[in-house]
Symmetry: C2
Subunit: 468 residues, 2 copies
């Protein structure tokens, strides 16, 4: 009877079932690649639009840089090449000939964008230079998993150059909070933990990495978006300099930041239940579906169609399901799977009584409302679902976070939850020990929940968990 494996029985299999049954994505023809089907891509388009709007509001401009990067570019920054070399896909032949210099498919674009920043920046008047690109990247993945770890993935990568360390730091934080955290909390309804990565977990080549960590329903963490201060490492490697107002020359301070199709995995695993996807209304491509439960003489379809038009007209993304060739049960299961937040169900009896049934996907509660107030109620319900989903996800997250004070305690708690422990009880050595057991320090946070300064470890707390 059940369409999906129950989460409790086998969470990874439930995840795979949702991907397949909801037709979100499947494996591509070569290892680690995926096909994002229309249902999955519609979610990504909504993410793209919301994140893109926030990036533009933060003053950055979209541009596009080449997919293929000369191998020599990577070698200019020591830590960067060390981090990415094992993951590169390399083009050795083009146009039927072997290439003089092999080209890497971009795993990220700091190097090629650094090269152009160096050309474009001349004086302090050119700063800050705030760029972003939406692109595909390739990182050879040994243990691929759809959306979470794939050889090719889609993302945005921002790259900025500033006159001072302070400005670069402020901007990297602004992106973290105003773009990523805001989008994840207010659109994805995910109460991400915002913190700083440990030195061990930094991006290859970064001076400081900040992160938004989501907690999934199986208590595992998922890194959802990161923002990096790159210091002057890339500006030295790529000669990104500027002349100051008083005529001296200095290297810029650069940042980079990214969020990817991995967020699709987070969305599924943070909110999904045994019936399928559960979408927050702010993200949902379809916010309400009006379903003709059963038709008799055409009156139900007419009423449903009018209702759907009214909902759409008042700004609710609406779909009409008047598919008479499939039974209602089959269709309800399908809309459950797709996670559509609000279902308006209409049958002959409802139309006769001038009512409709309002079903909310998150709590599965039903209520009967007058036909004339469906639009009003649906609009209010959309806001309520959005708030309730964030509250529910926050409650689930908080229920698995356990405070402790020792490395042993941390190890035990993090087997099935998230340990919050003073970083001084872990330290670099403890972190390495935890890592050997498959546990990672997801991020560091100050006691009041704020972001610690890059080099200030005093009194900070570590979140330790299993992670995707």
């Amino acid at each position: 009877m059940a369409v999906l494996t129950a989460q409790e029985d086998d969470f990874p299999r439930w995840y795979q079932d949702v991907l397949t049954k909801a037709k979100l994505a499947e494996n591509g023809p070569s290892r680690g690649t995926i096909v994002i089907r229309p249902n999955g891509y519609a979610l990504w388009e909504r993410m793209h639009a919301e994140v893109d709007g926030r990036i533009k509001a933060a003053g950055a401009h979209n541009a596009y840089f080449p997919l293929l990067i000369p191998m020599s570019f990577f070698e200019r920054e020591a830590q960067h090449v060390e981090g990415f070399s094992p993951e590169l896909a390399v083009v050795t032949h083009g146009g039927g000939k072997e290439l003089a210099e092999p080209l890497a498919i971009r795993p990220t674009s700091e190097t090629v964008i650094g090269e152009y920043m160096g050309k474009w920046i001349d004086s302090y008047r050119d700063l800050p230079l705030l760029l972003n690109q939406w692109a595909n990247v390739v990182r050879w993945e040994m243990r691929p998993r759809i959306f979470l770890r794939t050889t090719e993935f889609l993302w945005q990568e921002g790259h900025t150059a500033h006159a001072t360390e302070r400005e670069a730091r402020q901007y990297a934080r602004r992106i973290l909070h105003e773009v990523y955290e805001d989008f994840m909390r207010n659109i994805l309804a995910m109460p991400v933990i915002v913190g700083r990565k440990t030195t061990r977990e930094r991006f290859a080549g970064a001076a400081n990495t900040m992160t938004c960590e989501g907690i999934m329903r199986d208590a595992k963490a998922l890194q959802m978006g990161t923002s990096h201060e790159l210091g002057q490492r890339f500006s030295q490697a790529f000669d990104i300099t500027y002349s100051t107002a008083d005529g001296t020359h200095d290297h810029c301070w650069t940042t980079s930041w990214g969020a990817s199709t991995r967020m699709l995995g987070g969305l599924i695993m943070c909110h999904g239940d045994d019936f399928g996807l559960v979408l927050p209304p702010a993200l949902a491509p379809v916010q309400a579906v009006v379903v003709v439960v059963k038709e008799s003489d055409g009156a139900v379809t007419r009423a449903a169609s009018t209702l759907a038009d009214e909902l759409q007209a008042c700004g609710i993304r609406t779909k009409l399901d008047d598919n008479g060739s499939q039974g209602f049960g089959w269709r309800a299961t399908e809309w459950d799977l797709q996670g559509v937040p609000i279902r308006v169900e209409l049958g002959p009896r409802d139309v006769a009584d001038n009512v409709a049934l309002l079903f909310r996907r998150d709590t599965r509660e039903k209520s009967t409302v007058a036909l004339s107030s469906v639009v009003d109620e649906a609009r209010k319900l959309a806001f309520r679902i959005q708030d309730d989903m964030l509250a529910a996800a926050t409650a689930r997250r908080d229920a698995v976070i356990v405070d402790c004070a020792t490395l042993d305690g941390t190890r035990e708690i993090a087997q099935a939850g998230v340990a919050r422990v003073p970083w001084e009880s872990v330290g670099d050595a403890g972190e390495a020990e935890l890592a050997a057991g498959g546990l990672t320090v997801r991020c560091l946070q100050r006691g009041d929940g704020s972001l610690p300064e890059p080099d200030d470890d005093t009194g900070v707390l570590a979140y330790v968990a299993r992670a995707y």
Copy 2:
């Protein structure tokens, strides 16, 4: 004094000057790749939005397929592999190891999408299957030219499967007219010539290729978007079959269609003049700029800022230029270069007189209008410019099209214009001869301007020209 090489003196150099001076794009680090700078990318984002809306209105859904395609996929369709083999970029190494099977970077995605269509289509109920993807593709390019021929370019590629040849044909034509032609005429203000390609000029693997051909200011043609009937070739190669209502099995009829960043080159070369870009208002990322010509006591900036807000509020994409650190002449040159359709200029005298100067970029005409009617006039002017630009481009196009009746006449006319000649006067042999001299049959059209049937050559006219 002149910022750009004059078109009359050296058209290719003028084009290169516009790209550079307007900061639209430049060459990437490896041959044939390009960097699309924010000014260029903003144009592409507007194209993307307009084309995407039309594709969705035609019922297709966006999806995403892998960048890397096993080489063996190409070998399944004979004409396709023959056409694309010389242009492939090949990944031979991934994750530090040599791959068992090399992977091609997609030059187009018929093969990989065909593979999945085969999996997803079961019965006639699954048809039509209408997919589209926005993606980058790589075709090794021997004579690269920014936007026109680049090794990597951005595009959309639609792929559909249908139950009958008739339905596939109708859909391929619908895309040609309702998506491409409509977008190009009504948004880009380009009077494209819509026709069918000759057998020689068909897409590799297509049974029929239809095209929109733009005519540039130098009378050269540019293929701007194509729509292909693929017959049953790919459905046979990739086993895309369906069961009919009466239980038999049949191969689908497929189509594919694409338009790319090449349209940016068309936009520049169809409308641009010696002052730079000239953008049609419907496309322009910034439709109006309000320029503070000179400031005295802050009153001009206040008035300009109010005006900019009012223009924006009434739906005109507006920017305020209150940059006092640069002289007006320098800034006016810059807005000319960027092709912003409407310039509202305000100086202290204007504010005192309660007027503003309205400058239209296409004709360079100026008019003085009362401050209180600027918004109204600007709105009307935007429509007028859009109409006038299409009319002007149509007049330029028609001025270079010359009717003739012989192959010799065609050859002579097409040196500096577009020859329209009965196809029976050219034929396959004549076409090959013309090609040897760098002239191509851009498309075939019926005498009344309509699209000829795929196999009906009787009485059709050929457009012959030099082309990008």
